[in-house]
Amino acid sequence: MNLLDTLLRCVGTLVAFLVLPLVVGQTEHKVMAHMQGRLGPMYAGGFHGWAQLVADGVKFVQKENVVPAGADRRVFQLAPAVALLPYLLVLLVIPVGPDGMVGQVVDAGIFFVLAVMGIGVLGSLMAGWASANKFSLLGALRTAAQLMSYELPMLLAAASVAMAAGTVSLPGIVDAFHWWWVPWQLIGAFVFFTAGLAELQRPPFDMPVADSEIIFGAFTEYTGLRFALFLLSEYAGIVVLCGLTTVLFLGGWHGPFEDDLGWLWTLVKTFALAFVVLWLRVTYPRLREDQLMRFAWTVLIPLALAQLALTGIIKVAIS
């Protein structure tokens, strides 16, 4: 791998990181609007308001960057970067197409992904504590409490796929995929996706940013570009979660004409899952923190363990 190749891969990942979340965000505007019998943004950019998020971005940049007087300045200013950068790193290792179409092959890919995604929580915690605002602190507490619900089922579900494929490398898992993995790992896929929703704090698990209860949780005091970075990290998180679920459970680039159109299959599957994420936001009301905890420990973890047992039995039976 020479320097130019490395540079191209980094730039490609960066472009995907900057474009895909915006596409998801614009889709969210339009999907939510149509599901609620509205039109959504129609003016910015001309055609069906396609430039609405670009305009939003420009607006955020123009706004003043306010740091509250009682806040811990340095931690407050550092928090958005801690929340956003992990998703960029994760995007680097998600395989898009066959024959090495991936930013960087990591030997222990699943571990890398789950480990780095977990760091994003630190950003919310730092933001909530450093804001010197009780609503922010409550939001940060809810974020941390939520972590205890989703992390274990997510790891167990990912472990099941690793067991089925016999490897923890993400390209290796996609290579080992067969179509019958989808029904085989269906329970694991459900657990992983649901736990991922809780990690991203998307509805119905958006208790940490519940706007009708605690304003905007840990991000209450943020303005301007830093607030936009937190929003961007949420949408980048949707892209990363859907991409990961695609790679682990839906076969990544596998599909008709996979040698030429593999990358398209990954994108199509990712956006189909992203649509489900948006759909759930419009459909379900917000749960309470203890309801999520109960759901995770009495439903998700037993399901994940059952999936692990099923994977083991079938793996032994076919080998």
């Binding site: 009682g70 806040a71 811990d72 931690v75 990591v106 030997d107 222990a108 571990f111 890398f112 789950l114 480990a115 780095v116 977990g118 760091i119 929580v121 630190l122 915690l125 730092m126 909530g128 504590w129 450093a130 010197a132 602190l137 940060a140 507490l141 941390a144 409490a145 972590l147 992390e151 923890v168 490398s169 203890d290 309801q291 905890m293 109960r294 759901f295």
Partner: protein
């Protein structure tokens, strides 16, 4: 030992000079200095949450050191367990109890000399042990010494007993935590049950004596 060492190269004192270090070794030393600095700041700062955040830097630096030694799997587990879970739990605990912005002098218990003595003694023991065990031996890192496959094979063929003993220890800790967290009076006070929406009267009014 044979599997790992065969992959990792010999432990013979190599004819290499410490005076012409490679780039990797220089980076290793620099990150080591960073980890040490972050650790020292972490125990000397008077702001509780800052101490936890400096701990993040120190533990993350350790993960980088593992990476530089080609132990990729161990590095990611370090990030997953220590950065993603332990530090988050520490921060959670701090925020739940008391974590004011700014200095908190009342958090100083006055055990500073004793802690310093214990820390210095254990550090001296460990440094002596490692230096004496390896002396001038040289481990060649060019092979696939730290891949997930090799780590797994090594762990489950040579170190199964310590691994299982640790599992039992963690299980015991888990059971102990559950026992400690159960209330001693048997729960005669009416507490709202988790997960169920209670309609009707608020929970302040005495309702059924025992729900579980």
């Amino acid at each position: 030992m044979s599997t790992l060492l065969a992959a990792a190269g010999s432990l013979e004192p190599a004819a290499r000079s410490y005076l012409s270090p490679t780039g990797q070794e220089i980076v290793f030393l620099l990150v080591g200095v960073l980890v040490l600095g972050a650790a020292v700041v972490s125990v000397t700062t008077r702001q509780l949450v800052h101490a936890a955040l400096w701990l993040v830097v120190a533990l993350g630096g350790l993960a980088v050191e593992f990476l530089l030694l080609t132990a990729e799997f161990v590095a990611w587990v370090q990030v997953l367990v220590y950065l993603g879970s332990v530090v988050v739990l520490v921060l959670f605990g701090l925020m739940l109890t008391r974590a004011p912005i700014g200095r908190s002098p009342e958090a100083d218990s006055g055990n500073r000399p004793a802690a310093l003595a214990v820390g210095a003694a254990s550090a001296a023991t460990l440094v002596t042990l490692v230096v004496d065990a390896f002396r001038s031996s040289w481990i060649d890192l060019s092979g696939a010494a730290g891949t997930t496959r090799l780590t797994g094979e090594y762990l489950f063929s040579h170190w199964v007993l310590p691994f299982e003993a640790l599992s039992v220890l963690l299980l015991a800790a888990l059971v102990g935590a559950i026992v400690l967290s159960r209330s001693k009076d048997g729960g005669t006070d009416a507490r709202p049950r988790a997960g169920k929406l209670r309609t009707g009267r608020p929970s302040a009014a005495p309702t059924k004596p025992k729900e579980r």
